[in-house]
Structures are given as C-alpha cells and as structure tokens.
Amino acid sequence: MKLVHPLMKYVRPGAISTATCTGCGDGIIAQAVLRAIDELELNIDDFVFVSGIGCAGWIPSPFFNADTLHTTHGRPIAFATGVKLARPDREVVVISGDGDLAAIGGNHLIHAARRNIGMTVICANNGIYGMTGGQVAPTTPLGLKTTTTPYGNVERAFDLCALTDAAGASYVARWTTYHARGLTRSVKKALTKRGFSFIEVISQCPLQYGRRTGVGNAVAMMKGYKENSLSVKKAASLSEEELKNKIIVGELVDKDMPELTEQIEKLRRIHE
C-alpha cells in the first residue's frame, strides 16, 4: 500500500513540489514548521503565514495550504504586525531569510522584538543572498569570498539571536538544519509562547554558498553544521577563543514579558 506523507495534508494543492534548489535547507525548515503544527494538533486555518522576498519567502508561500501573505522585500514583520494587531486571536508566523529580515528589514525585526508582539519569526539564515546570485549578506562570515566580496568579506556577521535578545524578544533559539528535531521542538515552543519568538535556522544554500565558496554540497554543509555546532549548555563552559567559528544551538532566551496585543486590549477596556 502507498504511504502518504503525514505533512502533505498541509501542502497547498498544486504547490506540492517545493520551489527550492536541490538540497536547499528551506525544505527542511518548511517540514519542521509543519511538523510542529501537526504535533501540537493545531488547525492550520488559524494561522497566517507572512513572508518576504528571497528564497525563504517561498517556504510558506504558496507551499502551505493556509492564509499566506507574501509581501515585499524586508517588510514581512511590518505586515505581520498589522495582521496580528487586527486579529490577535490568530497565530502569525513570519518565515523569511536573513537578507530580508536582518538587512533591509532589520529595523522591523528589532522593533517587533521591542514591542514583544505575539508572533513567531523564523529566519532561514544561509549567510548569503541566494536568489540574486550569491552576494554578501550581513550574516556572511568575515573573509568569505562572495560575488560582491571578491577579495573576501571585510564586515563582521550579524548575531541575530543576540540582536533580538537585546531588543526584548521573549523567546530566542538557534538551530541548524542538521538539528531538525531541536528545531521542531523550538517551533512548538515558539507557537505556544506569549510574546515575540525568534528562531534562527542556519541553513544550507548548496548553490550560491556551498558551490561558490568551496564548502561543498548540501550533505557537506549539513555535516559541517553537525561538526561545528555545540549546545548552549556546553558553550557556557568554553572560552571565547574556543567558541570561535562555532554555532551555538539551542534555546537562548525564554522569559515572560508583557505582550503587545494584550497591552492594547487593556486600552480598549478603559472605554468599555
């Protein structure tokens, strides 16, 4: 008998084949998000998925068979803010890339974290501009040669988790696509968390990153994530020198803070 993939029921008819390149980590992230929804037994009709421009914007749109708002470059969090404020009872999830969320959209990211608005932002961080052809991103490692850093990147990479933590997010976690199980756990946590949740997923772009920089294909990249990552707990006992070039994975922030839509609801109650 033929087995049906348990997550296929969440996939929009006609959009079954993902729009990503061979081995792209975005598919693993998409699956992790859907698995989290499935395991929590939530109704996908209660979700609004918002994405921006770039490969990762295609993770929910049109792939997820739900309300999906595919917005302009850099602005998904701002659109999502409007959605969440007007319908606080909905689960609002932003899924987009590092260029979209942290370069052009960096301001919206920090302000959403500051407001602690009840949404989940999942950042597929491939460290490069994939869709436009491998240009340097604010998340590209120092020294890396890209199509726009032919002599090596002279800028430091952004630590997005530290950024959103500093800005006031209630929940922050980092994983890689190798850690698909941990990622699923974090998405479940984020979806049930009041307040702003940010999950960074280090994700392979086998074409624009792997091939051009010589790191290798998707398999090589994921093996690299496995070898170079260590848990938050383990990292706590290591020196800065020992942590150099390591990916710290796990939950970085989990705290309870006043959430924006609840604060706004209080304003309305004054007038009732």
Binding site: P62, T71, F79, R87, H271
Partner: protein
C-alpha cells in the same frame, strides 16, 4: 451617542475632521509615523481608536506603517495611514503592493513644501503626480482633493467607501493649509452616513478554488482567518491568486485587469463640480486652490464679469479626461490653478486637445494660496 460618529457642530481643524471622517466610515486600524503637517491625524486616532475597539499603532517608520495597514486590511479591518510627502515617498513600494493585492486602505497625504525636507508647515500641491505614479509599474489610482475642514471629513468617508467598493488604496490629497485650517464641521447623524461594507466570499469557499483576484467588477475579498486559505502575493498572479512569474501573457492579463478594474468604472468614481454652461472661460482647480478660484469668481461677479465659471476636480485621479474634453468644446479658455509648477496642466492640455486655450496659473509665490486678484487679472487678460 455613537462613539464612532460624534454627531454635532464643531470648529475643527482639517486634520482632526479627517480622523473623525475615518472613524465615521468605520476605520478600525491606523498605522503611522509622525510628520508635520499630518501628525494631528495620528494624535486624534491614537486617542479615539481605543474608544471604538480599534487599534492605533505608531510604527517604526513609514515603510512599516503602510505594511501594517495592508496586513490589518487583510484581516477585514478598514485601515488607514496619514503622512506627508516624505512619508508617502517611503511608502511607495507598498502602495504598489496594496494596488497589486487589491487591498482596500486609505492614504492621507497632507502635502507640504518639497522636494526633500522642504518646508514642513507650508502647503504645496507637489505630490499630485506622485500619487498617480509614485510606485513602480503600471497601475491606476484614486485620489480625492478636499478644500475645507468639512470636506476633510466628508471626503475621508468617500475614500473609505471607494476603497471598499473597488478594493484598492485611495488617496486623500490634502495640504498643510487645509489640514491645519479650522472651520465649521458638521458631523451628521449616524443614519445619514453611508458606509460601503466589505464584500466577502461565501463562508466555506476555499481559496484554491475561489476567484478572489483580478475581477474587473471587483472580486469579493478572501480575507484571512476564515479558512479561505488565501494566497496573497505582490508577484504577478492569476484570478485565484496563484503566482506566475514566467509568462508575459500572465503579466499582460494581471496588469490589464488591475487597471481596468478602475478604468472601466472611472465614470462612477470621477467627481467634478462645474458651473460652465454658457461661459467663455473656465477656472480649473482642485484642493485648496478651489477656495481662491471661488473668491476670484465672487470678485468677477461683483464687477459684472459673468462669462467665467468654475470646474473643480473633487477626484484628481482617475483624471476626468472626458469631462475636460467636453469642457474644452464649451469654453474658449481654460485657466488651470495649481499650487505647483503645473502638474495636472499637461493632462488638461491633452484632454482639451486644442479645442480650448489652456493657461496654467500658479500662485505668485509657491506655497501660498493664489491671490484672487491675480486670478481676476488673468481672466480679464484672457477675455480681452
């Protein structure tokens, strides 16, 4: 008394009247960023929206403001933002997104003196073309130009109704003069205020099978949160919202449908007021300039010069081409009054098609209302 509609007589600033008009129209969401001379609208909405179970949010910038407005509109809320030229410049990309995704929303531009920072508190009709074509690509826009506090109230209601009826962003092109001026505003009884409700698909309709986009006669809006599973994208898409970023034919269909949704109904949208029958000269004006045109006509009438009439654009966009074509057949001369260097004048010239002489008359000093005396002088010169 309804908290949404504060029935009564007021001595009210244009900006405040605009906010009250929005609330009377059923606006439940305001996303904005402070800027002179539009901040009073935001301040009023911040105070008033919580009273009517609405949401006010001051976003981190104008790009975020329009994005939040569009996002909230997709949940079914009537939404607006208010800013001035610099803010509109920042919003342009997502104004295009609102057009492309057929998102009803109202954009208030209280114009100030530009380009760039210019003079914040001085009025210029500098953003007329920007409203029409400020975003990239090929699209239609609806824009209304109020000239008084009362019209700031009335036209804002009209703007919400047009936005709902045609599922598209609608501009109010006010200016610092009208926005900051205080005049009598009469807010009618709630039953006298007409509100166009949002047209929604039947419940149970699933997005994948529902034609929720690109209908020339305006598709019902498959808003979020009702299980429609709507796919909204600013990319080229078909009637079902399905993206197509490969075929030129798809782009052709997409653009033409979005445009014909407005152009096909232009005759219903366009509103002009004219008093030109049997006249020799017409004064074309819109927004604050209309007040100067009226005064000039009063002076002319007092002097016994009666062959001059007024043609006012209440909607600047879509442009009343046919109406001006007709006007050009009736009168010998058209004087276009604009507080800029002639933004609609080329459109008037094109519509007149040589049937009437078209003369552009700016105020002597840009950023001020026309001195009625200069209009009177120009009319006398033309008549002679």
């Amino acid at each position: 008394m309804s908290k949404e509609i504060l029935t009564g007589v007021y001595f009210m600033q244009g900006d405040i009247a605009c906010a009250e008009g929005a609330l009377a129209a059923g606006c439940k969401f305001f996303g904005g960023y402070p800027i002179t001379p539009a901040s009073e609208i935001a301040e009023r909405m911040a105070e008033r929206l919580p009273e009517v179970s609405g949401v006010y949010i001051q976003m981190e910038d104008e790009l975020a403001s329009i994005a939040a407005v569009v996002g909230s509109s997709w949940t079914g809320a009537k939404s607006m933002t208010a800013t001035s030229g610099p803010g509109i410049s920042l919003m342009q990309e997502n104004i295009g997104y609102a057009v492309a995704t057929e998102t009803p929303c109202v954009l208030i531009n209280v114009q100030r003196g530009g380009p760039s920072t210019g003079i914040p508190s001085i009025h210029l009709q500098g953003d007329i073309i920007q409203a029409r074509r400020g975003s990239h690509g090929e699209y239609e826009m609806i824009a209304l130009a109020p000239s008084s506090s009362q019209e700031m109230f009335d036209f804002t209601i009209d703007a919400f109704n047009l936005a709902e009826k045609y599922r598209t962003p609608v501009f109010i092109l006010s200016d610092a003069f009208v926005g900051h001026m205080r005049e009598e505003v009469i807010i009618p009884e709630p039953e006298r205020i007409y509100r166009v409700p949002r047209k929604l698909p039947d419940s149970g309709t699933c997005g994948g099978k529902f034609r929720g986009f690109l209908d020339e006669d305006v598709a019902p809006m498959p808003i979020f949160g009702h299980g429609f599973k709507t796919h909204v994208t600013g990319s080229c898409h078909n009637d079902f919202g399905q993206r197509n970023v490969i075929d030129a034919e798809a782009l052709d269909y997409y653009i033409k449908r979005l445009n014909s949704k407005i152009s096909k109904h232009a005759h219903e949208i366009i509103s002009v007021s004219q008093d030109v029958d049997g006249k020799e000269v017409a004064l074309i004006s819109y927004g604050s300039c209309y007040r100067a045109a009226r005064e000039a006509l009063n002076i002319l009438e007092d002097e016994g010069i009666r062959q001059v009439g007024s043609f006012r654009l209440l909607t600047v966009w879509p442009f009343p081409r046919n109406q001006i074509q007709e006007l050009a057949r009736k009168v010998k001369s058209i004087i276009v009054l604009e507080n800029n260097l002639g933004q609609i004048t080329p459109y008037v010239e094109a519509a007149a098609g040589g049937q009437a002489e078209v003369i552009f008359l700016p105020p002597r000093v840009l950023g001020t209302l026309h001195d009625p005396a200069t209009i009177v002088d120009k009319v006398k010169e033309v008549i002679r």
